[in-house]
């Protein structure tokens, strides 16, 4: 299991501002190491966000999203206690995620 996703959620009125930091190498598969060997591609393909187990946002990514991806977005109609959950899957099938409840 990979390192946990860092999630920050701030509720202003009924809109929740969410920020994510996902620790992940996001290797494109075109870089080479010091010996000239290709570093194999490893990048997140899909990130799914849930609000109280209901899917609200799906992100499909290519290898050109930066290393340790950052993602900020806003969710409508949120209230204190709502659970925001995130899961990701990379091209090698590794998964990770995290969740917070809004305060």
């Amino acid at each position: 299991m990979a390192a946990k996703v860092k999630i920050r959620g701030k509720l202003s009125g009924s809109v929740a501002k969410i920020k994510l930091l996902i620790p992940h190498p996001m290797e494109t598969g075109t870089r080479r190491d010091a010996d000239g060997n290709v570093i194999p591609a490893k990048y997140i393909e899909t990130v799914t966000l849930y609000k109280n187990d209901k899917e609200v946002l799906t992100a499909n990514w290519g290898a050109s999203v930066s290393k340790d991806p950052y993602l900020a977005f806003q969710i409508n109609n949120c209230a204190t206690g709502d659970v925001i959950k995130v899961t990701w899957v990379d091209n090698l099938g590794e998964t990770g995620g995290g969740e917070i409840s809004l305060k």
Binding site: V15, M26, T28, T30, R31, R32, E45, K51, K54, E55, V56, L57, T58, A59, N60, W61, G62, A63, S64, V65, S66, K67, P69, Y70, L71, A72, F73, Q74, I75, N76, N77
Partner: protein, 153 residues
């Protein structure tokens, strides 16, 4: 009719297989368009894979924010927002990257159409934000100058 044990298990097995087939076929059809779009190597092919025949129009209602000059192409902050109603997806295309399509977000009604993230840009390039609704695609473009590339060493 009373089912004996063997018939029951056979029915269950058949039902299970059908369910499996359905589960296997549905998502692959759904995701087919986006996965080919991510492998495409030029912007035109990305348009075709993502939007098919939908008309694409440049629009002031799509706001794409990027730096004019990215000192480090490996980490370029990008944010896309729009006032357009009924947004289905927001995509970001970087023309000069080996695979131009960088990210594609499928939105639901609960999400505010305002998303920020960070991308790699190999060399100075046109960056396009595409906002898809059910009958049209709206586009905003910006030129980003890169002084140190984000792809390769």
């Amino acid at each position: 009719m009373k089912l004996n044990r063997r018939q029951l298990t056979r029915r269950q097995w058949l039902g299970g297989m059908f369910a499996l087939c359905g589960a296997a076929i549905l998502p692959s059809r759904l995701f087919a368009a986006t996965t080919t779009a991510f492998k495409a190597t030029d912007t035109k092919a990305v348009f075709q894979d993502l939007f098919g025949d939908l008309p694409i129009e440049e629009s002031d209602a799509v706001h794409l924010r990027t730096p004019n000059i990215a000192e480090n192409g490996a980490v370029v902050p990008v944010s896309v927002s729009t006032d357009i109603a009924g947004v289905e997806s927001i995509s970001l295309i970087i023309d000069e990257n080996p695979n131009p399509l960088s990210a594609s977000f499928n939105l639901t009604a609960d999400i505010v159409a305002d998303i920020s993230f960070r991308v790699k840009i190999g060399k100075s390039s046109t960056v396009r934000a595409m906002v898809k609704t059910s009958d049209k695609v709206y586009m905003a473009t910006r030129e980003v100058k890169v002084t140190i590339g984000g792809c390769g060493g």
